[in-house]
Subunit: 424 residues, 2 copies
């Protein structure tokens, strides 16, 4: 037990630092060389005069990778983009809209996506199969494709490479989000700078049920197709996937990754250079995922659940996400109550074989439960930590090698007050 505790403490002391060659920078999808963005008001969001259409363009063909919802019911743009990612090595652009998810819309939904991609491709002088499409918004309402098509000339005409172009695109894809979400990072490899930029939408409060999660990540690094996929999968597993309990995804969730290579150089698979780039990619994805987790009507705190000592990473993931998604844990975090029993109870229902008698829990680095029972000396420090905005729970569930992170937020709504204060 001592060894485990020490290891957990050491990890907490280290924090989530990234190694030096990568650093966070201000920016978004247009930060890497050769990427432009644009936004427009197409009127897809009914009765509003808000931007609802966005385009991200690579000046050169970009190697593409993508990860998509595991929901059996998949929106037309997911079907379209998944097929392109599976079949093609490179693409030129991503068309995104909010206001209508184009999900459960039958064959006319498929036609709308095809027509949208085709129209963008004609305006850009490329092939329709080089255009990815992503949509978010209401489900089951016929997609107003004519409105989208009408706005495309202005959209393409407005393409720019500056920060404001990226911000406009970030704003156009929001639905229930309360803040726009873009992040960037730079990786320095062999005297050469590579930039990674990303944009996302998604509100985390009762994620993933309440809202679709979309993200587009761009880079000017030169990556092969298999390499881009491998790097994206690893980064998403540790970041965006920390937001969800397995399989509990919307009809439209997707993360798209475009690498156009315009920064030059080489990044051989398995090299140290690739490792540095992977860290930068994970940093962008992690900060976007945390922004999603923290967003939501009434949410005030980001909840980070780190699990270690599980039999496998998979087991650890189930536990971390079940704890991070638990209403009881979220209300306790909101109420500032170091209610470790709720954390253990959530871990117990994660569908994973664990021994309740060996569970250790730290809240903000303070040990509050040891061997499945109270460790009262830690409660005061834990309560202090819970008054902050970034809440970290470390749960050790045994001696196994499995570890994972889950992301969530507190629950501050009126209707759960009764439960947040139920203990007092």
């Amino acid at each position: 037990m001592a060894r485990r505790s020490t290891s957990a403490r050491a990890r907490r002391a280290r924090g989530s630092s990234h190694s030096r060659p990568t650093r966070a920078v201000a920016g978004g999808v247009t930060s890497p060389r050769g990427f432009r963005a644009a936004s427009a008001e197409a009127g897809i969001k009914p009765g509003s005069r808000r931007p609802d259409l966005a385009l991200v363009l690579s000046d050169a063909p970009a190697v593409v990778a993508g990860m998509f919802t595991t929901n059996r019911v998949q929106a037309a743009p997911v079907v379209w983009s998944r097929r392109i990612v599976a079949r093609r090595g490179a693409v030129r652009a991503v068309l995104l809209n909010s206001g209508n998810a184009n999900a459960c819309t039958g064959p006319s939904g498929d036609r709308a996506t095809r027509a949208s991609a085709g129209a963008v491709a004609r305006l850009l002088g490329v092939h329709a199969a080089e255009i990815l499409v992503a949509s978010t918004g209401v489900i089951g309402v016929p997609f107003p494709v004519e409105r989208l098509l009408g706005a495309l000339p202005a959209l393409v005409g407005g393409l720019g490479s500056g920060r404001s172009a990226a911000r406009g695109a970030a704003r156009a894809i929001l639905t229930t989000d309360t803040v726009l979400k873009e992040r960037a990072a730079r990786a320095r490899v062999a005297g050469r700078d590579y930039t990674i930029g990303g944009v996302a939408k998604g509100a985390g409060m009762i994620h993933p049920d309440m809202a679709t999660m979309l993200a587009v990540v761009t880079t000017d690094a030169p990556l092969g197709r298999a390499q881009a996929r491998r790097l994206l999968r690893a980064a998403v597993d540790r970041t965006f996937n920390a937001l969800t309990v397995d399989g509990d995804t919307s009809t439209n969730d997707c993360v798209l990754f475009l690498a156009n290579g315009l920064a030059g150089g080489r990044i051989p698979p398995g090299s140290a250079a690739e490792h540095v780039l992977a860290q930068a990619l994970e940093s962008v994805c992690a900060r976007l995922a945390e922004a999603i987790a923290a967003d939501g009507e009434g949410a005030r705190k980001l909840l980070i659940v780190r699990v270690e000592g599980a039999r496998s990473d998979r087991d650890a993931r189930h536990i971390a996400r079940t704890v991070a998604a638990s209403m009881l844990v979220k209300t306790a975090v909101h109420g500032g109550d170091p209610n470790w029993g709720r954390v253990l109870a959530a871990a117990g229902r994660a569908g994973v074989r664990i021994d309740p008698g060996v569970l250790d829990l730290w809240i903000g680095g303070a040990l509050v439960a040891r061997g499945g029972a109270a460790h009262p000396p830690g409660e005061r420090a834990a309560a202090r930590h819970l008054r902050g905005r970034r809440i970290v729970l470390d749960l050790c569930v045994g001696n196994g090698p499995g570890r994972a992170v889950g992301l969530g937020s507190d629950l501050s709504a009126d209707y759960v007050r009764i439960n947040a204060h139920y203990r007092s």
Copy 2:
């Protein structure tokens, strides 16, 4: 498709009627012959002067059956009662308390449960292993066993067989519940009346994460041990288990069933008499489960999700419960929005293989989606149905034999308004 639709329509027309020999009656756990109940204020709920202790006693040894939480972290009273149910054929009483769940309390929690059962047994002049224990309340706080022990003489002294004794016990086990929950039914078999009575606690709004579910069901029918277990399992699978997504249970959930045989006669396994009794048992459990689903701060509507055409009952259960637990569906029901797309999307993420292209959905009997796409003629009638208090969704997912019911409620909280009105 036509045949399936007709069958679903026929079932909707039939409603949920039970066959004639059973009928609902007013009452609770003391309605069957030979059962008494009591309640007391032990001070386990801190700082309140509310009853928090209850006892249900059978005057004769009662055959016992029980179903318990699947959570890996199990409260001390669950461990105690589960062992008794597994080993003994008959018991005499159930001791219940609110205010403290006696979960995550280590060895001292086990001692507290054993001491409680022992003290009740001494006062009643029976064996400790004839006393079941069930607790609900805060997790991880040492159990105030001295307070419980101090209140036992008054509790046992207050035992009564009337309606008010049963109601007192029903009130004493409430935590976040807003209404007390007791139901009864009578079955007439071969000129003989058998009564079934039940009491439950649990708040359904964001069930099961928000609250423990406890239930005690009593009957004066003569049942064998294996028979009682079989009947209880069948009833719970179709009722209380409709409240939860598999495995997503609290540390304390349990349903206990006591049959003392004091009404005489015989109910042979597999007989028509047993079938009638099973219907009465299911009716009591179903009405208690519906009361739990409908309860909760701000909840206004009961949501009943019936799924048919799945490959198996198990698949149907996963779908029904995922839909009934979906925040998006619950907010749409609250907003009166016949947003069938959300229902299909929830079905799609249930972890069950389904074909989105064959999904049919009725809201209050009005067909709103056919073959996975909109069926606009039904929307008006569906919107009318959604203005009521008892919302019924019928989802047909294919040609298979599997069917199941899921129970839930609407979500009416302020913080989800943004999402309930997101469509408009």
